[in-house]
Symmetry: C2
Subunit: 155 residues, 2 copies
DNA sequence: GCCGGAAATGATATACCATATCATTATCGG
DNA sequence: CCGATAATGATATGGTATATCATTTCCGGC
């Protein structure tokens, strides 16, 4: 079961991060990991009820998500109003500026670090325009190869 | 009055674009231009009532915004759930992939074209990850120089 | 000018996302 | 055990977005 392996991964992450990952936070993280796609806070509340047979109010989910995102165990996709587990939640990989490739068709998301050279060029361009980059997170609307392929056939 | 000059600019834009820019759409565009910052559809409904002494339901505002964004006269900032007039609404400048620098402090926004070399590198990186860039629009959380300066003093 | 279809707008309902606030419970060192 | 702090629950409310059907406006053909 996906949830099972996600749980053990969340366990590992919890041990690595020296932070108070309570059982509910861990469960929310596990649900995010099992989802493998962005989910909303309200969806998580539903998933929690179904997966753990306990009702958790959305308000609490939001707070747990705050915690998880502050600790880079999860991310918020601002352009989607959804959340996703960090691709590096289970490795010690230090967390740089993330970049999300979002398939507009199947909503699969791939997280990667922003390419170093791109990052530097971006910073330069921003500075030139009279701004300072503070919280770089790129969310790029794409098609995954599968969906791009499928699209071509029906064109 | 800002609205007045925005109206004439909207007029120009309307003439340039060979599209059916109705008077209400033009008014919404004028309001966006006068705002000079991102505004929500519901804010626009309020502004419309105040500015033109006529009540327009949010639903209609959304539709007019759809039209304006489809024709690159306005843009939606997906990460803010707000709308902004296109910086090139009044020039014949063909519209490439836009990039928005958003001041997290004062919410000023600057629109610029994505730097060509950055765009190419982005496309390469995306392709390498098994995706195809479809609708490139960068929304970068920044501080404008004024706010960055102000921030330093109070640190 | 009248007519009929298409486009635009209005009206209403509803779903979904997010936060504010106060109450309650869990946790932990002393 | 106590008191402080952190975490969670409960409730209310606000903000954003869409679905659907009704009405009006616009425009070309007659
Ligand atoms: Zn991450
Ligand atoms: Zn896909
Ligand atoms: Zn533009
Ligand atoms: Zn600023």
């Amino acid at each position: 079961m996906l949830l099972q392996s996600a749980l053990s991964r969340a366990e590992q992450a919890s041990e690595r991060a020296e932070i108070s990952l309570t059982s509910k936070r861990k469960n929310v993280l596990a649900l995010l990991m099992a989802a493998e796609r962005p989910v909303s806070a309200y969806e998580l509340a539903d998933l929690y009820r179904e997966g753990f047979e306990q009702s958790v109010p959305p308000m609490s989910i939001y707070r747990m998500l705050d915690f998880l995102t502050e600790n880079n165990l999860a991310h918020k996709l601002n352009s989607e109003n959804k959340f996703i587990s960090c691709a590096h939640a289970t490795c010690e990989h230090s967390h740089g500026a993330p970049q999300f490739l979002i398939c507009e068709q199947c909503h699969k998301v791939k997280e990667a670090a922003i390419d170093k050279s791109i990052f530097i060029e971006l910073e330069k361009a921003v500075e030139k325009a009279g701004f300072v980059l503070t919280n770089p997170q790129l969310e790029l609307k794409c098609l995954c190869n599968e969906c791009a392929q499928a699209g071509k056939q029906t064109d």
